[in-house]
């Protein structure tokens, strides 16, 4: 079963499996430090399907839900 980043609760740690999207979104997320294999912690999740705030490589990045839905992840223990 695949989970996407938008469905992850606050303070949970996940590992990126893949980015299901076109060339543009893969490049952009790569630039922000999100590649397959990276560990992400979800910090905050805004109400009304607002953006989510994640921490990746010690840096905080806010992602919109639409983009977060493209990031396939698996929960780290």
């Amino acid at each position: 079963m695949t989970i996407t980043l938008d469905s992850i609760g606050e303070n949970q740690k996940v590992k990126v499996i893949s980015v299901s999207g076109g060339w543009g979104i893969r490049q952009r997320l790569g630039c922000l430090g999100i590649h397959p294999g990276d560990i992400i912690t979800v910090k905050k999740s805004a109400i009304m399907r607002g953006p989510i705030l994640i921490s990746v490589h010690g840096n905080q990045v806010a992602l919109g839900r639409g983009v977060a839905r493209r990031v396939v992840v698996e929960v780290e223990e």
């Binding site: 893969r26 952009r28 109400i47």
Partner: protein, 470 residues
Amino acid sequence: MKIALMGQPNSGKSTIFNHVAGYKAVTSNFPGKTVEYTSSKINLFGEIFEIVDLPGTYSLTSFDLAELEARKYLLRNSVDIVINVIDASLLSRSLELTLQLLELKLPMVICLNMIDEAERKGIKIDVEKLSKILGVPVMPTIALKGNGVKELFSMAYKMGEKKKIGKTLNFSKDVEEVIAQLSTQIKEKQVNREFNVPKRFLALKYLENDSYFMENFEKRDKDIFKDIIHFQNKLSETHNRPSDVVISSERHSLSMNIFEEVALVTKPQIKLIDRLDNTLMHPYFGYIFLVGILYLFFNVVFTVGRLIEEPLLEYFYKIIPLIEIRMGSETLSFSIISGIIQGLAGGIAIVLPYLFPFLFGLAILEDLGYLPRIAFLLDAFLHKIGLHGKSIIPFILGYGCTVPAIMATRILESGRDRFIASGLWLYCSGYNGNSNLGIGKRPFYCLCAGYYDSLCCANDYNICISGFLH
């Protein structure tokens, strides 16, 4: 000598630029703020330098317009030396751009900016080791305080004279093999000549499926196009992912390796705002605090503004009767002069007392890091009207003054967003002009009102009221 400043958004390029170019531009906390590039000629060490501040770019791929423009500029213009500005607290991410700049084989100096911020985050960087690995000088700076900026430029000058080019760092063996094979093809067919780039750089861009280079290419030579597709497929088959992901993952792991080699990571100091985050960004309390903070902010601005406004206005009104006595109230020149004074009073005594505390307060909010949090909180709501969360910045600025608000719409990436934001702002501000919150349009109206009143010789007309009525 021509120096180009290149770096990721918010790495402090503009701060360095302003430090040497000698004037302050608007600095904001969001990516892509310098969409157009600015350049300036300065005199250093007895030589004229042309410094170009290129738009912030995350990478050298043709992703958005700003990145494309920055890369085009680097390739087209004969830049003597590139200063790659890096936010030291984001070293591992920033190195990915550095690796791409090294692929371009241009003379380069690395500016390791915000080292104080990195230390606060618990990252200690071995500058010499980094310089040894990359093969180019690395200069630590704190651009905000001006520390190390002079040394940076004197090093850039030296390296620009020497034309010092950095090392090419290699990816994994199997990827390098594919790159080498494609490079040979490129060399044989001499395609890199028309783009004026090194063959390895071009090979990488083809493997990354970079639209700019691909488009330019398809029209010209079908033969090498087949080769490119062949090598792209080869990479994606062996790695089981698209070829562009293979290259970006390679670059990523290479920069992570460099980062681990040169940086010592200890426990970060926690900033006050990070501690408050649980409350300030709470799904419900966060909004209550947002309203409270903005209320307080505007309240302080208007309290301080009123304190300054009243004595200033009084002063201006004392001048007019003095002139009246001297010139007589019926003359045309008196009408004109008193109109000018009233107009000036509108600008100086009514607008500035509010504008200064407003901009000062906004700067404090920005330095505390609250502005991006507002953008985060309001993103969902602004998306309902088709805007990004960060467009709240021009909206807040719009309460102060039109000009910075319209300028701040530059932080929005698409022309469409800018259009909506400026359009909405104009509407909101016109509306709020009557409610004593939007003082943005008042300078213009006051000037008109003052002028109009004086021509009608209705000097007792209260300029302030007419400002509101308009």
